[in-house]
């Protein structure tokens, strides 16, 4: 937060005119659990699609999580996903990045904006030098266009995970602080966030 207690107005942190990030509270646990089980949700989050008991889901929800936020579409206050920073290491300056987009999000544009806002939040508010995201092929297909201009692939685990009847590879992508700060993606995001017409 800044000196006045609010989030920096020009950073884009925690929201723009389309999407805002809100803390995860217990009242949202049933929704998160239900959405986790939907086949159309993106990001095999935590239980990786398995119908784990609700009590186990709740218990595991905050394990290793540094920061966790709901993606909320401002127009209708619909929760469209969750983003996580996890396995943070302040010694090494790294943090894992996770995103889970609900099937009912209808579109991915709002959700992706929310994920980008969360990336900005992690780099703006903390001293991380690199964020890691492990992704299945299915999830990766949704943001592959950023390869080389926004993130790099640092590892591939071939035929690593069993999903939907087949072994599938997963990827470890990274976003470094310099890459993010210098990216046109960030510039576009902050331009949208700081434009008066985009702020309610």
């Amino acid at each position: 937060m800044n000196a006045s207690g609010g989030w920096p107005a020009t950073s884009g942190a925690l929201g723009n005119g389309r999407v805002k990030l809100s803390p995860v509270v217990p009242a949202t646990y049933p929704l998160l659990y239900t959405e986790m089980l939907r086949p159309g949700s993106i990001g095999l989050w935590r239980a990786e699609g398995a119908p784990v008991p609700y009590e186990d889901f709740v218990r595991a929800l905050n394990e290793g999580v540094f920061a966790q936020m709901l993606l909320v579409r401002r127009a209708d206050d619909a929760i469209i996903g969750v983003v996580q920073g996890r396995s943070a290491s302040f010694r090494h300056g790294t943090c894992g990045l996770g995103a889970f987009v609900f099937e009912n999000a209808r579109d991915r544009v709002h959700a992706i904006q929310g994920v980008l806002i969360f990336v900005e939040y992690l780099f703006h508010e903390f001293t991380f030098r690199k964020l890691y995201a492990e992704s299945t092929q299915r999830s990766f297909d949704g943001f592959a266009s950023g390869l080389g201009r926004l993130f790099e692939i640092e590892g591939e685990l071939k035929n690593h995970e069993w999903h939907d009847g087949a072994y599938r590879s997963s990827f470890i992508a990274s976003v470094t602080r310099p890459a993010w700060l210098g990216s046109p993606t960030r510039r576009r995001l902050l331009a949208a966030a700081s434009t008066p017409a985009m702020i309610p």
């Binding site: 579109d107 959700a111 992706i112 949704g142 926004l150 331009a191 434009t195």
Partner: protein
């Protein structure tokens, strides 16, 4: 709003690379941000319905003349 071909060309100039054959969610998200920076502010329902570049052009063509509100941004860069 220019015709689709010119719209694509301007977007490619902004991205600095050709439009992918099948633009993914990240690419479309950034394309929406770019188009809105040109002053074409899309409704949420429109954004929810955008699946490809033609949809984006279609909806941007609708809101540009109707809203007529510039967000302090310039027009799409000229082709000159």
């Amino acid at each position: 709003m220019p015709p689709l071909e010119e719209f694509i060309r301007r977007l490619e100039a902004e991205f600095g690379e050709p439009i992918p054959p099948e633009p993914d969610s990240l690419w479309l998200t950034e394309a929406v941000l770019i188009v809105e920076s040109w002053g074409y502010v899309l409704a949420d329902e429109m954004i929810a319905d955008i699946a490809d570049i033609s949809d984006l052009h279609h909806y941007a063509s609708q809101v540009g003349p109707l809203l007529g509100e510039r967000r302090g941004a310039e027009d799409p860069p000229s082709s000159a």
